[in-house]
């Protein structure tokens, strides 16, 4: 979904340059499209023609609602896979940020470890004996 947004943002920059290749590969693409479609549709129609389509076997585990059943399955039977999916998403976030992050030298930021390491001696100077 993000991809489509990206395309809407960026696609109108250089739309004129790609016309040539489009014409060049049009017969090949159309041929692949039509042949694949015919093959697979022929197969599907032949295979599933005479089969009765009975959707409802025992799909209702805990309730009538599909969403509720899905949630139930996700959190009981597939909980490990669910957590692995979370890890994969975290990996995606980290990879995307690491790849695209550029450090701006003009930015002002705090270094937390230095902030923690600061002791009283560095900040505070006690001056005694100033009266005389």
């Amino acid at each position: 979904m993000v991809l489509f947004l990206f395309v809407v943002m960026m696609l109108d920059i250089n739309i004129a340059r790609k016309k040539a290749a489009y014409i060049k590969y049009l017969p090949l693409g159309l041929g692949v499209f039509i042949i694949f479609n015919l093959l697979i549709i022929y197969f599907f129609v032949n295979t599933f023609e005479n089969i009765n389509y009975n959707a409802v076997n025992n799909i209702n585990i805990i309730s009538e609602s599909n969403t509720e059943n899905l949630g139930y399955l996700l959190f009981t039977e597939y909980i490990l896979e669910f957590e692995i999916a979370g890890l994969i998403l975290l990996l995606g976030i980290i990879a995307a940020i690491v790849l695209t992050y550029r450090k701006n030298p003009d930015n002002k930021f705090q270094n937390p470890s230095k902030q923690i390491e600061v002791s009283k001696k560095d900040r505070l100077k006690v001056i005694t004996g100033l009266k005389e």
């Binding site: 499209f33 694949f36 479609n37 129609v45 940020i97 790849l99």
Partner: protein, 101 residues
């Protein structure tokens, strides 16, 4: 009730559309990624259809995991695309000819 072959034919048409998109558009990497995404979506459609046909919710659960992998993949792909655009100032496939033998 709509026969199952209609669902499968729709998903096939989407899949072949994305294949034709990859064949037709050899210029822009973004459009290639879009076609890839469309391919994933048609496969997911197949999973849901056949899972429903077999009376099994596992197909729909599997679609969730496929979608997470697709999301991570497209995020990393877009990040790579941004890095590529920074170094090359273009996202055309023809400009990526360093590995040419």
């Amino acid at each position: 009730m709509i026969p199952i072959s209609y669902y499968l034919i729709l998903s096939t048409i989407i899949f072949t559309l994305s294949i034709a998109g990859i064949f037709l558009n050899r210029k822009n990497i973004l459009v290639l990624l879009m076609s890839l995404e469309l391919m994933f979506l048609s496969v997911n459609f197949n999973l849901i259809t056949l899972g429903n046909y077999l009376g099994d919710l596992t197909g729909q659960v599997f679609v969730f995991f496929v979608l997470t992998v697709v999301a991570a993949e497209s995020a990393i792909g877009l990040a790579l695309l941004i890095v590529l655009f920074r170094s090359k100032k273009s996202i055309d496939v023809d400009d990526l000819s360093e590995l040419k033998g």
